[in-house]
């Protein structure tokens, strides 16, 4: 019997790591991955709460999160490729000019 709060702590940790990654990392792809990590943290808490309150809709919601994450990563990666093609670099600090 695992108390619910353990799951929440785990998802909190995942989310925290995601946020720090999002803030610290300089490589665009890594930032993007930390976003995915955040989403996973959220998914975990969704399923944990669904389990606690015996509502399957929590799990269904996880699907929608996944679909959105998939769509987002597809477009995001396309953008990253486009950025790389024009800027020759993936370092976020160098991608700061609106003009080429």
């Amino acid at each position: 019997m695992v108390p619910l709060s353990y799951y929440l702590v785990l998802s909190g940790i995942l989310f925290a790591c995601g946020v720090t990654g999002f803030l610290i990392k300089r490589n665009i792809i890594t930032i993007f991955m930390s976003i995915e990590l955040m989403l996973n943290g959220v998914n975990l808490s969704f399923v944990a709460f669904a389990a606690q309150w015996h509502a399957l809709s929590g799990q269904v919601f996880v699907f929608f999160v996944m679909v959105v994450a998939a769509a987002e990563s597809a477009v995001g990666l396309a953008i990253i490729i486009a950025v790389y093609r024009t800027r020759e670099t993936l370092n976020v600090d160098r991608v700061n000019l609106l003009k080429l």
């Binding site: 695992v2 799951y7 946020v19 720090t20 990654g21 699907f63 929608f64 486009a82």
Partner: protein, 177 residues
């Protein structure tokens, strides 16, 4: 008791993977640590009884999205993250801030978020029931997300395709590879 052991094992693996993602300098390593995180999460979902979610997590997240990431990393041949000077402000506030934040969140979760505990497989999520839910109660969101995915596909195709054959010829030599 078994449930607790398995949970804590895979919880630790998950946390370690997440931290590893931060620590690693090379994006491919962080990508793989993220795959590890997703796998252990899938196991956590199984512990919670959400089989279909776990399976889909493995197939969709680990199997498709992360492959895309690895794919892009390979394609762009992204090297090590060069250490540009980290702004002191971020260092100064960042780390203590995060620590305090997480401790606060942890304390709140442990102390105050109710005492409900979850048994193994507390809420079985067999595919049949989930399927029923998905196509009855959540039909509209389902259709909307399908449109979303369609748009995402089109967007990705347009963005990633070379900007027109004409310019492509001039820039191709410089950029190929």
């Amino acid at each position: 008791m078994l449930h607790l052991i398995v949970f804590s094992v895979f919880g630790l693996v998950c946390a370690a993977g997440a931290v590893n993602l931060l620590v690693q300098r090379h994006p491919i390593n962080s990508a793989l640590s993220l795959v590890v995180v997703m796998g252990s999460l899938a196991v956590e979902y199984l512990l919670l009884g959400a089989e279909f979610v776990a399976a889909v997590q493995v197939i969709v997240y680990a199997g498709a999205i992360m492959v895309l990431f690895v794919f892009v990393i390979m394609l762009l041949n992204a090297g090590e993250e060069d250490r540009t000077k980290g702004s002191r402000v971020a260092m100064l506030f960042g780390i203590p801030g995060v620590l305090i934040g997480s401790v606060l969140v942890a304390w709140v979760l442990l102390e105050r978020s109710g005492t409900g505990n979850v048994a193994v497989g507390a809420l079985p999520g067999p595919p049949k029931v989930i399927g029923w839910l998905l196509f009855h109660d959540f039909l509209l969101p389902f259709e909307v997300t399908s449109v979303l995915v369609l748009i995402a596909i089109m967007g990705a195709v347009v963005l990633a395709s070379h900007p027109g054959a004409v310019q492509q010829s001039t820039q191709s030599d410089k950029r190929e590879g």
